[in-house]
Amino acid sequence: MESWLAIVVGFMYAAGFFMLLRRSLMKVIIGLSIFTHGANLLLFTAGNVTRVGDGVQLPIVPHGAAALTGAYADPLPQALVLTAIVISFGIQAFALVLVRRAYQAVGSDDLDRMTSTDTEEGALLHELPRRRGSVRGFLPWRRTRAA
């Protein structure tokens, strides 16, 4: 079971890295997502994937015993995986919104065209269009009309 999971994890890492090397931003984000899920699965595998039965215990020390004796599935990595999934979910949601906004600002999702951080000289890159008013349309996850 573990070797199968290991192969799957390896495949996911390879697929994730391949997608990360693409020029299209959307594919890069999908690659990141596959890559992080690979890492999550690896954490899961690290916790001894077993089922109860055939001498495999629940990870609870029985009454009167000092420690677990037989094989057991370690619950800690599963807790870690849950945390990691929640974190990566939040960050990927932000990444998707950022991609959408960048796509609107640049007019393309080609990474080769996103070079204004390196080529635009002299201008103040953070200067906002002169416009009074509310904060709406201003936070990175809201759309601005003047872009």
């Binding site: 690896l42 690290a46 960048a102 070079t115 390196d118």
Partner: protein, 503 residues
């Protein structure tokens, strides 16, 4: 003791919540953030004094014994860095109030800044590998939004590059952590240190060490992984660049210091040679980039990369005096880098841009600003008696004692080039006459900008005083750094404090 160690995480969290509640009242937000950062600084100093007197302080959350519960640990390095984070946070809050445009300031800037500080302090204090990961993510999440706040095209592009590279780093960190847990069955750093030393398969441990090196190297902007930093740090408003330059990349260096002085010390000939080579490559790449740029904040961004190289070189040499030099350099660099970005912000405020070709005549127009810039720039370049000189002197001496002559040669050349790139800013922005048809603000716009620039000088002056103080109090501070290095070189102190000590 328990509460004291929790405070550096709790204070920014509470401040962030309170500033969110006061979202509509900007003045209250400023006051709250100022109070929060000031109490963070005071807490840092109290922890530092406590650690200095009683040795390493440990807090076990909920009273669970060490390898099972969540552990917070403060040794000298953590305490020093929390204090430095407090200084930077306080200066940043003041500088924000005086320099940032209202729209950004209103759009939850202060809550984000405080969450960022929470992640930074959490990373410095945690004694658990997975909590380190969580603190990194807290810090990154806040930094993503800070970087893109305002949503101009360059910010979005820079933010994407920053985000993608940091996510890759996080996933690699997670991989390394999972594999290490599988191998040694623990996540508590003190416990890991003991288990790794006893682990039979050194090849596996070397591999894991390299995985951690990649994960933290990406965060710290080390040589082959530094490209995201100069592509993103100059895009947001200067105050954001300043706090990123002062704290964020230093967290990566802190993680490297922790990992490679405590956990992976069994095979120094391999791990620390890799570190030394990468450190030298980082220095060269950073300084050459700095020499080639023509804009103040771009030059400073590349200088961050170069100084990361110096810090890692101190770690790679792995002697007491070298680590002391690295700690001294870390403290000096946090203050000076933040201050230089503040100064770049003031110049951009006055002139509307930071392009060296179109700047000029600042010396004649603003002598005070020029002197303040000169102090920080020369300190970064390492001119005596300013703080950067002592840091570099100690590192060079450590290199000579360890007979790392090639590394020392590279460091000296890089230091010279650093001086060159700083004098380039000085000569082009301050010394030369203003270009004939230079664009200048007029009327009310000029008055507003001048007033804001004058006020923004307050935190600049404060940080310059700190820089000069580090230079002139080099003796006592270096002794503190030596004591820190002693603790780092003797992980058994940390291990007994966490696993055997009574909190």
């Amino acid at each position: 003791m328990d509460t004291l160690l929790v405070l550096p995480i709790l204070i920014p969290l509470a401040t962030a919540a309170l500033t969110l509640i006061a979202a509509r009242a900007l003045r209250i937000q400023r006051a709250l953030s100022f109070a929060g950062m000031a109490s963070l600084l005071i807490t840092g100093v109290v922890i530092l004094l406590h650690v200095d007197e009683h040795g390493i302080a440990v807090a076990q959350a909920g009273g669970w014994a060490a390898p099972y519960g969540i552990t917070l640990v403060a040794d000298r390095l953590s305490a020093l860095l929390v204090t430095a984070a407090g200084v930077v946070g306080l200066a940043t809050t003041v500088f924000t109030g005086f320099s940032l445009d209202r729209r950004r300031e209103r759009a939850s800037f202060y809550p984000l800044l405080n969450v960022l500080l929470m992640g930074v302090c959490g990373s410095f204090l945690t004694g658990d590998l997975f909590n380190l990961y969580v603190c990194f993510e807290v810090m990154l999440m806040a930094s993503f939004v800070l970087l893109t706040l305002g949503g101009t095209r360059a910010q979005l592009e820079g933010g994407l590059k920053y985000l993608i590279l940091n996510l890759v780093s996080s996933a690699i960190f997670l991989t390394a952590g999972g594999l290490l847990y599988r191998a040694v069955g623990t996540l508590n750093m003190a416990d890991i240190a003991e288990q790794v030393a006893a682990y039979p398969d050194t090849g596996l441990m070397d591999t894991l060490a390299m995985l951690f090196l990649v994960a933290f190297g990406l965060k710290a902007a080390m040589f082959p992984f530094f490209f995201w930093l100069p592509a993103s740090y100059h895009t947001p408003p200067p105050v954001v660049s300043a706090v990123f330059a002062g704290l964020l990349s230093k967290v990566g260096v802190y993680a490297l210091l922790r990992t490679f002085t405590m956990m992976f010390t069994g095979h120094l000939a391999f791990t620390h040679t890799v570190l030394a080579v990468l450190a030298c490559a980082t220095m060269i790449a950073g300084v050459l980039g700095a020499v080639a740029q023509m804009e103040i904040r771009r030059i400073l961004s590349f200088q961050i990369v170069s100084s990361i190289g110096f810090l890692i070189l101190g770690l790679a040499l792995m002697s007491k005096i070298a680590l002391a030099g690295a700690v001294f350099y870390l403290l000096h660099n946090i203050v000076v880098k933040t201050n230089l970005f503040f100064l770049a912000g003031v110049i951009e405020k006055l002139r509307g841009h930071g392009d060296l070709r179109r700047l000029g005549g600042l010396w004649r127009e603003r002598p005070v600003l020029s002197v303040l810039f000169l102090v920080s720039a020369l300190s970064l370049a390492g001119i005596p008696p300013l703080s950067g000189f002592w840091a570099k002197l100690v590192l060079l001496r450590a290199g000579l004692e360890g007979e790392w002559y090639w590394a020392i040669g590279i460091a000296v050349v890089v230091a010279l080039l650093t001086l060159y790139s700083m004098t380039k800013i000085w000569a082009l922005a301050f010394w030369k006459d203003a270009p004939p048809n230079e664009f200048a603000f007029t009327g009310r716009e000029r008055d507003v900008r001048e007033k804001s620039a004058r006020r923004a000088m307050l935190p600049v002056v404060a940080l310059t005083v700190v820089t000069v103080a580090i230079g002139f109090l080099a003796g006592p501070i270096f002794e503190m750094a030596l004591a820190t290095a002693e603790q780092l070189l003797d992980p058994s102190q940390y291990v007994t404090a966490v696993l055997g000590g009574v909190s």
